[in-house]
Amino acid sequence: MPPAPDLHMTAISGEAEASPVARFEIRYSRYLDESGKALRPLPDFARDKAELAALYKAMVLARAFDAKAMALQRTGRLGTFASALGQEAVAVGLAAAMRAEDLLLPSFREHGAQLWRGVSPYELFLFWGGDERGSDFSASHDFPICVPVATHVPHAAGVALAFKLRREARVAVAVFGDGATSKGDVAEALNLAGVWRLPVVFVVNNNGWAISVPRAQQTAAETLAQKAVAAGMEGEQVDGNDVLAVREAAARALDKARRGGGPHLIEAITYRLGDHTTADDASRYRPDAEVSPHWAQDPIARLRRHLVDRDWWQKADEEGLIAEAAATIEEAAGRYLATPPQPAETMFEYTYERLPQDLARQRERALAPAADTAG
């Protein structure tokens, strides 16, 4: 790996006073205000109606999936579920900027990105329904959802290293929450990516909360983007509810990484409108008064207003889309509900590639009639 320049050595030159040796700046960007009005010239891709419509559709589909998953969970037909309500622009804007051959390592609130990248809603239902087949994606090479917070971030560095060693023009993308930034895993992975200039983009899906711990109690860092500074890497903030801003920042970061320019960190500022998961009751720790204003920031409404203002979206489009998304999700849910659990012996089949003798004997015992009857 090419060593990074040892700037602190040259810096010693400034002698007489305590002299500045390094300076950093974190910038924040957004394109659309909350009513969908452009605040500045839009990025090129936004000239294309189809592009914007695709972003919009993907956000609506993600939300439809979310709503159905919540409904299934509330009626006892799905396991604990982590909703991404209000955060759709982060996942979708990012996924839209990625190439198919890139590789996504999601946390657990990125179904918007997973769906864009070829994971089926059926597979997602299976996963959240407690079935390992939900991560055996039939049309995606991405990593599965990662539950232990931040532990997939070093994987992204490893995946990026694999791309780099193979001279492939691919980028690994890890997404993680504001809470995750406090884990050493993130600092270690960022540091490695920085010093080895790995083709990886780190995206902090900052929804303001880590379960009951607000962003301000997570770290004294003024921005989460500046976590990058410790790794000698560029970091920036974007409005995570502005899908254009997310897409544009992601595209720039991916392009830089792809061209050998090294890693990049994007802090996407969004807000968790719902409970942490279906097992959580946010009213215990978060006043409704804090939540309400954030509804006005809804990324889906914002882009819809923008499309409508440009006369690119009519009532019929909306109705068609809603119906289509509902149909897709309903079909997937139906298939999920009709899918019987795997046979118990599959437990044994994937622990090792080849079943060790010891385990083969256990499988025999497990399948023996007496044992098979749950107590």
Binding site: G79, T80, W128, G129, G130, D131, E132, V147, P148, V149, A150, G179, A180, S182, K183, G184, A210, I211, S212, V213, Q217, Q218, T219, A279, D280, R284, Y285, P341, Q342, A344, T346, M347, F348, Y350, T351, D358, L359, Q362, R363, A366, A370, A371, D372, T373, A374, G375
Partner: protein
């Protein structure tokens, strides 16, 4: 005397310990205003304030390391790890520091701290939330490893763990949190941290277990009783240091032993108990020592976990085999 469940007993013991000793402080993720994801610390933030109940940033290694620093200065930190699937980053601090601070300084510094975590499966949780992790800790000298299996034992053992001058890993079986209630007197009485508990007497077979599967073990004993078979049931409770004597004495009487645990079989702590029997109780054994445990497979997701956990049927099958052994 009110009937309370296991998680309420944990809460009661924490409150008691904090009330009686100002050096007891709690730290962890979401244990403050939220009261813990299982509500084990409910009401404590309100009662004892933000300097006794500390919501930390999200970093388990840090939680363990900060606890070591606190304990070295005379505090008695009780750290909560939200699920055992996230307890691995604490091992470094527990193995390299907490368990050694006393011996490394020949007693100059000590490390009275507790790491609590909800443990085990059976609640249909998402992946990485159902692990039985005791064997990461039972081979670390200087630690105590305690797993309560009833509200009363949770109360007494946790009080003793907090008062203990050395570090304790305290694993609370999630699926027993609200499984049943019993009367627990809030009298501040601790239970010994070096003793097994005899839950049920019987002369025909000894069932040794701890944590979650004690539920199925007791059910099996009940069923056996209805068939005229006397099963003695031992709750190991404190795995480290192990009270081998109680187990040996029971097997000396029954001659047959079935060990039940939820962690994977190979390398699980059941091996230690069977080894003690093979070492110090061989002449008592009238039948092979059986272990009914989690399989040596990764804990399956919710849809299959019932096939993984030791069931009453599997326990009964093992007992019947032991009884029929000549």
């Amino acid at each position: 005397m009110p009937e309370i469940n296991l998680v309420q007993a944990v809460n009661l013991a924490l409150a008691r310990a904090m009330a009686e000793d100002a050096s007891v402080i709690l730290l962890g993720e979401d244990i403050g205003v939220d009261g813990g994801v299982f509500r084990a610390t409910e009401g404590l933030f309100e009662r004892f304030g933000p300097e006794r109940v500390l919501d930390t940033p999200l970093a388990e290694n840090m939680i363990a390391g900060v606890s070591v620093g606190l304990a070295s200065q005379g505090f008695r930190p009780v750290a909560e790890i939200q699920f055992t699937g996230f307890i691995h980053p604490t091992i470094d601090q527990l193995a390299n520091h907490a368990s050694r601070l006393r011996t490394r300084t020949r007693g100059r510094l000590a490390c009275p701290m507790v790491v609590r975590a909800p443990a085990g499966g059976g609640i249909r949780a998402i992946e990485h939330h159902s692990e039985s992790v005791e064997s990461f800790f039972t081979n670390i000298p200087g630690l105590r490893v305690v797993i309560p299996a009833s509200p009363a034992r949770a109360y007494g053992l946790l009080l003793s763990a907090i008062r203990d001058p050395d570090p304790v890993v305290f694993l609370e079986p999630t699926r027993l949190y609200r499984a049943f209630r019993e009367e627990v007197e809030d009298d501040g009485a601790g239970l010994p941290l070096d003793r097994c508990f005899l839950l049920r007497e019987g002369g025909d077979v000894t069932l040794v277990s701890w944590g979650g599967p004690l539920k199925e073990t007791l059910a099996a004993a009940e069923r056996l009783a209805s068939e005229g078979v006397g099963a003695e049931v031992i709750d190991v409770a404190t795995l480290k240091p192990l009270d081998g004597d109680t187990i040996l004495a029971s097997v000396a009487k029954t001659g047959r032993c079935v060990i039940v645990h939820e962690a994977p079989l190979t390398g699980g702590f059941g091996g230690e108990i069977a080894a003690r029997l093979a070492e110090e109780g061989l002449t008592s054994l009238l039948a092979p020592v059986a272990r009914v445990a989690g399989w040596d497979t990764v804990m399956p997701y919710a849809r299959l976990e019932q096939h993984y956990l030791p069931s009453e049927a599997r326990i009964l099958a093992a007992v019947r085999q032991a009884l029929s052994y000549q």
